[in-house]
Symmetry: C2
Subunit: 451 residues, 2 copies
């Protein structure tokens, strides 16, 4: 499936094109520029961020072109010269990209991605690059928090109905799976990304039968190997008794009732009652799924109060990242014609020049400190995190499979100390600026003071 | 441009398909059912909601089919019988839809849309219908609040870079324009929806020139008829003086500096200082644009404190509806095989049966009260709001043009009293249940109590 941004280079802000037109007329089109993508501040409560979206960025950039429909539209606006439209017609991405791999952890101020290209190419891609990486990194981070809160229990993506668009639902399924979710309810994400899918029944199914146990029996007949019964349509405790009856009937036929699902009410009390009812019926292997407005906070609180829940369905609040539905992510010019660029204003200052992120490990192999340096820096035995991924417009290697990225995330996340993972009071992971980069900042500041 | 949901019927939750399979095996596939789409509660601070998304719902439903790729994937999962996959292969939407027109105002519990169809057809569309109407109605509502706060000043959509996906950015542009925004920065939305586009320059443009006034002059040369200068790259007041210089130079050539843009700092003080600088230079017609984390609250507060701003660029906070990034929107079975369906639980009770929304007007033609009734009700001279839009799977008429919907919204919004529009303390608009619908509820409740 091609995305909107692959079909059309117009998925951008108009000012990217007006600036491009002005660069073109001022003979600056070919001047090399470097832009850096980074997050300025932590969203509330976060102690780390998870990089995601690179695959889509690379797909978009390598397919980047203005279609005939795009050019006809631009011509009809009367805003642009024919010479500039001719220029857009042949425009492709010819630059270089260095980026964090998907699934890597990162922190504010650290470049996620740096693009060096003729300024127009790098400039017109700003909007789509921020859009893609903002959504997917935000969701991967939120999902990682949910998985962490669930402490080894399964967490499943149920968000598609209220994600901000179907495309967003696809990206949420992919990003949450990357960050450790076990499955998704989104069937198209199953087809496109190979993510395991899951799902059973809605209240409407039970209502359409009228008789709850008749609905349970019908479903068990249809899916004898994967029966999960939704038990709260009328009364959860009565529903649990009926599910137990059906579970015993299934056992006589050599089948196992896989689970029951709770979707409303007090999850702590109900899950304990339901567990007892199932255990009393000998259904000790039947699992309890819960799916009622969960996010990382509610998962942690519910488990902390002794709920007996084996798996969580996490929907809307993860799928729109409800407590922090955007990152403070920006894409800034950091070098132009070989000259490092730095804004001086205290609040919006950027780190000048092409950069690299170095990660040092400490005792037990845990991450100890990150250093943001220039690309010329070498920081002892630290690991350099930004990899070259595109050179002269060409992908340097195929993108890793989602399963591989998922494993990478798990491995990297295991190396971050728990004190940076607390849901509400995470410590701030140490990130410092290298001496060389600090020196560059001071040099620019001093030069500007003399001008 | 086709959407993901038009290309594939798998943009749905797996349980829609497992339920469908079970209906199919239990010979319930053809049984008529009615589902109702509505919002259960106001999002925080809201006093009304704006209906949007119907056009996309109708596009999706009339193109609804399982593609070969969909069916191959489902077959490979091993979950479904061949007979059921054959059934899906030929499945199209053959039912009826009644809906609020786009741009109409609505309130919690009122059906936005009701579908009557063989249960499988209506059930499998649940996910995509909620997804589409939730996003677009949420954004139209948020945008209407921004326009209201701006009190007649222009408001422009700048959200594309941080909407939750590019598709979301398209829907945000359309929904916000419907609700009174003047333009969008999203060029593809200009091409696809015919929305006016707007945009000038970023800080990177000024930085790439190094010299601010050189950047201003270059831009004025490139776009002499539509020059808006971003004046806060270094120091806003100095930037305003340089813009005034360029504005005077333009005036000598018979051109007009259209505007300046502020993007950081104290908007009240800066806008007043900049206004004075422009006025002192004789540039009384040069407008001040502002674009710094605006939403309806910041627009109202900034204007309330005496800011001199002529137009607002509204981005992320509107584009993701940051203070309330989802609606409590549900799609519930309300009738099955001619039998009205009602859940009894106090919290999640639904209104049974097929319904209609009646709106009564009072003095000065303002909306006085809504009555939710059955489709058999007649409520005096009230206006019935749900229109038939699809019959037996066919669209009854072409969808109205976006400009027409925009006008409808403006007209309807003008008939809602200001006391329901307050940003922080809106009164609750009166919505009651008709006697006939109340009777139906009581009848069902009494029957269940006896069972």
């Amino acid at each position: 499936m091609t995305s909107l941004a692959e079909e059309s280079a117009l998925a951008t802000d108009l000012y990217e094109l007006t600036m491009a037109a002005s660069y073109f007329e001022n003979h600056m089109a070919e001047t090399p520029a470097t832009f850096s993508l980074y997050v300025r501040n932590y969203p509330p409560g976060r102690g780390y961020l998870v990089a995601a979206g690179l695959e889509d960025v690379l797909e978009t950039i390598t397919h980047f072109h203005f279609s005939e429909a795009d050019l006809s539209y631009l011509e009809a606006t009367g805003t642009f010269s024919n010479a500039f439209l001719e220029y857009l017609h042949q425009l492709r991405f010819t630059g270089d990209i260095r980026a964090l791999p998907e699934g890597e952890l990162f922190f504010p101020d650290e470049p996620i991605l740096e693009i060096t290209a003729p300024i127009i190419e790098a400039q017109v891609l700003e909007t789509v690059i921020i859009n893609v990486v903002n959504l997917q990194s935000m969701i991967a981070t939120k999902a990682a928090r949910c998985v962490y809160a669930a402490g080894g229990r399964r967490v499943v993506d149920f968000s598609l109905r209220r994600t901000q668009g179907i495309e967003a639902g696809m990206k949420v399924a992919r990003s949450s799976y990357m960050a450790g979710f076990s499955a998704t309810s989104n069937v198209l994400a199953g087809r496109i990304y190979g993510i395991p899918t899951t799902g059973t029944m809605a209240h409407s199914y039970v209502s359409s039968f009228g008789d709850e146990i008749a609905a349970f029996r019908a479903f068990a007949r249809s899916f004898p190997d994967n029966t999960v019964l939704l038990i709260d349509t009328y009364d959860t405790v009565e529903g649990a008794h009926k599910a137990a009856t059906v579970g015993r009937e299934m056992a006589k036929e050599g089948k196992r009732l896989v689970g029951v699902r709770l979707d409303s009410g007090n999850m702590v009390e109900l899950s304990r009652q339901v567990r007892r009812i199932l255990d009393d019926a000998g259904l000790t292997e039947t699992r309890i799924f819960a799916s009622s407005s969960f996010d990382e906070y509610k998962i942690a609180d519910t488990l902390g109060q002794g709920a007996r829940i084996d798996a969580f369905g996490v929907g809307t609040k993860m799928g729109v990242c409800a407590d922090a539905p955007y990152l403070d992510m920006v894409y800034k010019l950091v070098e132009y014609a070989g000259r490092p660029i730095m804004k001086l204003s205290a609040k919006k200052a950027n780190l000048p020049g092409k950069k690299q992120v170095f990660r040092r490990t400490g005792p037990r192999g845990l991450f100890a400190e990150d250093v943001i340096g220039t690309t010329d820096d070498t920081i002892g035995d630290a690991q350099a995190l930004l990899d070259p991924v595109v050179r002269s417009g060409r992908l340097l290697r195929p993108h890793p499979a989602l399963e591989e990225i998922r494993i990478r995330f798990r491995r990297r996340f295991s190396l971050l100390d728990d004190r940076f993972k607390d849901l509400r009071a995470a410590e701030t992971y140490p990130v410092r600026i290298s001496d060389r980069l600090r020196g560059l900042q001071e040099k620019i500041r001093a030069e500007k003071a003399w001008n």
